[in-house]
């Protein structure tokens, strides 16, 4: 039964999976940019840092389903509310890790960067960011796992992705192919999450300097 469901709707599943993946990756990139910018602004002030950490802790308790529902009113159905919700939740763990990573850098290293004549911006981009990058990337991996699931909720706002299979299955539960539909959606999300995590580990290999990699 599941097999024939897969075969019959292969094109549809494949397209939804691709859309799901693309939604997550693009939102993740947007989230990295936004949370890094916020982290850059706050990490030097302990007070602002704790505000940022508080926001990211509280933000994670907001039910994604409720948030996307509320956003339908101002943003309408479709891609826009999906991207906003996924980006919002993706940004929270990244922001937290970015603030922690940047503010935990040994101050003597920062001082020595300033001491050899690097400007504030240059120090941030060439010294502090690369040193905090492993921790930031860990945040990105946590985010990626989390928002893979959250992106499925996008279907509620008629957004793209595998959530459509889950929602349509659940609404017809007991009907023909309803369970298959849910299983395809859930398993698809899990597989995508696994693939993305592998890609992020690969990204870490490429972007984390050998000098600060934790040797096994």
């Amino acid at each position: 039964m599941l097999w024939s469901f897969l075969v019959d709707r292969w094109d549809q599943i494949w397209f939804a999976a691709w859309q799901h993946f693309s939604l997550v990756v693009q939102s993740l990139i947007l989230a990295i940019v936004i949370s890094l910018l916020i982290a850059f602004l706050v990490y030097r002030s302990p007070r602002l840092s704790s505000v940022a950490n508080g926001v990211s802790a509280v933000g994670l308790t907001i039910p994604s389903f409720a948030l996307i529902g509320i956003l339908i009113a101002p943003l309408g159905f479709g891609v826009a509310p999906s991207v906003v919700v996924v980006t919002f939740f993706a940004a929270l763990p990244i922001l937290r890790n970015a603030v922690v990573g940047l503010s935990n850098i040994d101050q003597s290293i920062v001082e020595s960067a300033r001491g050899v004549g690097m400007s504030r911006l240059r120090t941030l981009l060439t010294i502090e960011l690369p040193l905090a990058w492993p921790i930031i990337l860990t945040g990105v991996r946590i985010s990626a796992q989390m928002v893979m699931g959250i992106a499925a909720v996008a279907a509620y706002a008629l957004g793209p992705g595998l959530g459509g299979f889950i929602f349509s299955g659940l609404s017809r539960l007991g009907g023909a192919n309803s369970l298959e539909s849910v299983v395809v959606g859930v398993v698809g999300v899990v597989i995508l999450a696994f693939i993305l995590d592998l890609l992020l580990v690969g990204l870490g290999r490429l972007t984390i300097s050998r000098g600060i990699r934790v040797s096994k």
Binding site: S108, E111, G115, V116, G117, S119, L131, G211, I212
Partner: protein
């Protein structure tokens, strides 16, 4: 483009530094961290800033490259007033070394060293040549260390790379903040010796902050002793500070054994050695004993065919022998010509003879150093210290009141 101009290394000639009535106040603190200091640092010399922790010596150092901006006063490098030029640009023209080197852990040794030349826009080929040159200067093999990361180096090696990085763009001025504080005593001593060697070659203007008075005596051409608020208590040569501490504060800071510390200022090769009666293996002991008695000495030095000391028998020991043997006495008190008088005294106190044998190149025997020779050296150093008077300028704006009795609390 003006790239070809910036390629030119800056004038290698070192430059003097002048802090002119410089004050640093932090908001919310009643007393200034640095109180109206005027300090002249002569070109091409090593000046040590010493004092108890929190006395403002590090703040003073960091105001020279404006890592800390002074609240009042002017800073001059050579003839140039650098008080209000761009701080980053100023710092690129000065070497800066901190404790443990302050290396960037995500960059290789070569990348760390080439940072400043890169910022100054040097061409690649010249930078890589410079990196190798500097690694050799600090006694690290470029082929081995160029591509290593800081975590793959020992503490002493990291510190060396830190010095190489500071020297990368050939700056006339080198600032060091407790540079050898994080390494073990043996490595520290070796790094200090290397710094002396490098300075002999490069003649930079070097300012070093330290809390270790022995280090100050060893490295400094001049020493500034600070009390709280960066008040200059004494600014003088190591010899004079040891011989004539300005007041009780300096005496306490020098600690016990000022006389012994003077011994680190002199090396064995600087003093006149006593002669010795020489013998060789195979000689009749009686002949050697006779020569010893004629010379009025207590001992004879037995040398092998390459003039290296084998043993150092006393008259009594010679009297018991028939012929001189060629056995090597493993406990001979031997010091090299490069050792400090302090090391020599250490060695001779261990030996029974109250003296030590001095060897030169290839361990060839050159003479005997005795306690009397060392006493003589101490007296001479003290006399020389009394006569020297050309210390650079170093005052605080309110130093007159400080000098009054009871004023220095």
């Amino acid at each position: 483009m003006s790239a070809s101009n910036s390629i030119q290394p800056e004038a290698t000639a070192s430059r003097s530094i002048l802090l002119d009535e410089v004050t640093k106040r932090y908001p919310g603190q009643s007393k200034p961290a640095v109180d109206g200091i005027t300090l002249e640092i002569p070109a091409g010399k090593i000046v040590m800033l010493v004092g108890p922790s929190g006395c403002g010596k590090t703040t003073t150092l960091k105001m020279i490259n404006r890592l800390i901006e002074p609240t009042e006063g002017r800073i001059k490098i050579g003839d140039e007033d650098v008080t209000s030029i761009d701080g980053d640009e100023l710092r690129r023209r000065m070497g800066y070394v901190i404790q443990a080197g302050g290396l960037f852990p995500h960059m290789t040794v070569a990348a760390n060293i080439s940072l400043v030349p890169k910022m100054l826009g040097w061409p690649k080929a010249k930078i890589s040549q410079r990196v190798d040159e500097l690694l050799e200067l600090v006694s690290l093999d470029p082929a081995v260390y160029r591509d290593r990361y800081p975590k793959e180096l020992s503490g002493g090696q990291q510190q060396r790379v830190g010095v190489a990085r500071a020297l990368a763009a050939d700056p006339p001025v080198l600032l060091m903040d407790e540079p050898f504080g994080a390494v073990d005593p043996i490595t520290r001593q070796r790094l200090q010796d290397e710094l002396i060697k490098i300075q002999d070659e490069l003649q930079k203007t070097i300012v070093i902050v330290t809390h270790d008075f022995d280090e100050a005596v060893k490295l400094g051409d001049w020493i500034v002793v600070f009390s709280e608020g960066a008040h200059i208590v004494q600014y003088d040569s190591p010899e004079r500070i040891l011989a004539e501490p300005a007041n009780e504060f300096v005496e306490n800071f020098i600690g016990s054994g000022a006389g012994l510390k003077q011994l680190t200022l002199n090396r064995v090769k600087d003093v006149e050695l006593a002669e010795a009666v020489i013998g060789a293996p195979g000689e009749k002991a009686a002949d050697v004993l006779k020569r010893v008695k004629d010379a009025g000495h207590g001992h004879a030095v037995i040398l092998d065919d390459r003039k290296r000391p084998l043993s150092w028998p006393s008259q009594r020991q010679l009297g018991r022998l028939d012929t001189i043997s060629a056995t090597q006495d493993p406990e001979l008190p031997i010091v090299g010509q490069g050792s400090t008088l302090n090391d020599a005294l250490d060695t001779m106190l261990v030996s029974n003879a109250g003296a030590a044998l001095v060897t030169g190149r290839r361990d060839v025997f050159v003479g005997v150093i005795t306690v009397e020779v060392i006493m003589e050296a101490i007296t001479q150093t003290r006399t020389a210290a009394h006569e020297a008077t050309d210390a650079p300028v170093g005052t605080n704006t309110d130093s007159i009141t400080i000098q009054q009795p009871g004023g220095a609390a």
